[in-house]
Amino acid sequence: MLAAITEGLSRVFQLDAELWRIVLLSLEVSLSAVLLATLLGLPLGALVAVKRFPGRKAVIVVLNALMGLPPVVVGLLVYLMLSRAGPLGSLGLLFTPGAMVLAQTVLILPIIAALARQALEDAWREYEEQLRSLGAEGMKAALTLVWDIRFSLVTTVLAGLGRASAEVGAVMIVGGNIDGVTRVMTTAIALETSKGDLPLALGLGFVLIAIVLALNTAAQLVKDAAQRRFG
């Protein structure tokens, strides 16, 4: 197996321009999805954490359950929506990176919202009295809380990023794995595996792992530096 890995890595680096394109597209798609899901998911999680409303427990259960949405099912649903035969067909988004971003956003939104909700609910127990005493209620209190525990929320965002960069089912279906247009690392690995080119698939796999590791390391360093500064 070691021989396969070394062969794979050397062939991966021979790919040059094509490899770069695939890597950059993977990053673009997953990071965009994480950004969107965070912008939507953090306020959602904050609201559910802080506000008491009828059916709140049910919402929490559903959010937690949606974390386990199978990517291929999400891909299928988004495909049906974006297909010309579907409701959003006229957008012409199918088989474009935009469709992939959409599918991945849908996939990781529950993860970010549910994990944020848990972290914020724990923090709210600590902050609630003081914030309410000062006159911060509802959305104002929620957003203040989000900003204050932003470093713990980094882990939540990384969880979303991990899920997005690792999945292949959704992006394969809505992207079509089109050479040069919608081929990302995971779909490329799937393709090479199905072609029987296992060393290349392995090589790509290692590149993917290395990238995700690098992103996580960077996030940790930023988190540490900021924590030293703000306490």
């Binding site: 600590e126 006159g135 703000f230």
Partner: protein
Amino acid sequence: MRAAPILPLQLKEVVFSAGEQRIIDRVTLDIAAGPSTIILGANGAGKSVLMRLMHGLLEPTSGSLAWSERDLQRVRRRQAMVFQRPIMLRRSALANVLFALELAGVAPDKREAEAFAALDEVGLRPLAQRPARVLSGGEQQRLALARAWALHPEVLFLDEPTASLDPGATREIETVIKAFDAAGTKIVMATHNLGQARRLGDEVVYLQAGRVVERSPADRFFTKPATAEAAAFIKGEVPWVGF
């Protein structure tokens, strides 16, 4: 424009239950402007809950709390509360005071001046840019007082503000509280520390098992308590007292 005061606060037959247990048991009380009021009692007497009811963080199970002012938003803005453990945001000391000013609706160009003045009052100006969470317990509590001071509240509620502090820090906090009092703020403070109650209080409300057992001016309370329960409490805390 001199605004109308929110005091007096009138509690009528206030009850607070958590499940089966009655924590506050039919309290009728008038909080008027002027003398600093100490809510005295042993642990578990219900002091903290009473404070939170008065401040508006809890709703009574039955009974009523009425301020002189109808507008509840105004009522909220004219009072502040300091808790036993200060909760600070992960920002600088100055930023924490600014946050309170922002919430109180103070104009943006006035906030910084007010914040620095408040920090000066509690002697924290040199630490203004320090992250609030790395300050010592005593410094954070002083910061909490600065935060309250910046709002120039009519009423300042304090729930055992020095229970977690050493004697030195305690003295510093008490100095600031006296300054509030001198500036005309109504002080309502819960404590079980008799010495502190004597040092800071003008009148004492003695709470036991959720009921107001005695209410007297401070010097009379400590020398000649009117009720046996109060006497027992004082004797329990300071067994060498002779009455």
